[in-house]
Amino acid sequence: MASPEELESTYFVAGRDFTNAGKISTAIMDTLKRLGVDPEVVRRVAIASYEAEMNIVMYALHGTMSLRVSPHAVTIEVGDEGPGIEDINLAMQEGYSTATPEMQEMGFGAGMGLPNIKKNADEFRITSEVSKGTRLFIRVNQIA
């Protein structure tokens, strides 16, 4: 077991705050490293978390990310208030994006974010309500 410690923390993410975008995911990464979580697990969580955080910053008004570490898994629950996603199946397709040129100039908005979160997760769930917001559940199993 990577770590017997249990931990729960919730972070606030402000929409459109490009200066700080990614700060929470690097903080999550540092926390997991400190707990002695396996480096490959840390990397998968950090990448999935960063993609989710960028999505909040790019599209939503604001959101929260809740990290939970148990001996068996690391989970991140993401909830935002924002435009929501009309067609989740379409949003899950690689290459589909509603990003603006501004987001693309920063190297994002290539329609890879949600598929990449799913790729890095052992369990991934997404629900969304148009004009309300989007919720994600991301679980990465700890390596025994």
């Binding site: 690097t26 950090a46 990448i47 960063y50 190297g107 990449n116």
Partner: protein, 120 residues
């Protein structure tokens, strides 16, 4: 983003010499580079990079450093003479990501690294 797996690794110090690069930050350049990726699209780096990879990019932003950090990259080389501003440099230092800069284009820099490392 093509990821090149080389037959032999070179150190970051050798990468600096090969590319005539300036070192913006990174005191220890002994890390061995086994893979190099060239991309301006951070989405590609997040989706395709491997831990320990070296990134060649024209994007000198804080998002690029955070992308390198979460992806576990060994360092970043800015191409075409791009300079990091103070916020980018401060973040690279904080995250301990070696940051280099070369006047070469992405194509030239990638070509030189490929030739140096893939030749037996």
């Amino acid at each position: 983003m093509p990821i090149l797996a080389y037959q032999k690794a070179v150190s970051l110090a050798q990468v600096r010499d090969l590319l005539g690069a300036e070192v913006f930050c990174g005191e220890d350049l002994s890390a061995q580079v086994g893979q190099v990726g060239a991309a301006d699209l951070m989405s590609d780096v997040l989706a395709l990079s491997k831990p320990g990879m070296l990134l060649l990019t024209g994007l000198a932003s804080t998002q690029m450093i955070r992308t390198a950090a979460v992806s576990g990259l060994c360092g970043v080389v800015l191409v075409r003479g791009r300079k990091p501003d103070e916020s980018v440099l401060a973040l690279a230092r904080e995250r301990k990501i070696p940051l280099l800069g070369t006047p070469l284009t992405m194509f030239e820099a990638a070509g030189l690294l490929y030739m140096a490392i893939s030749s037996r």
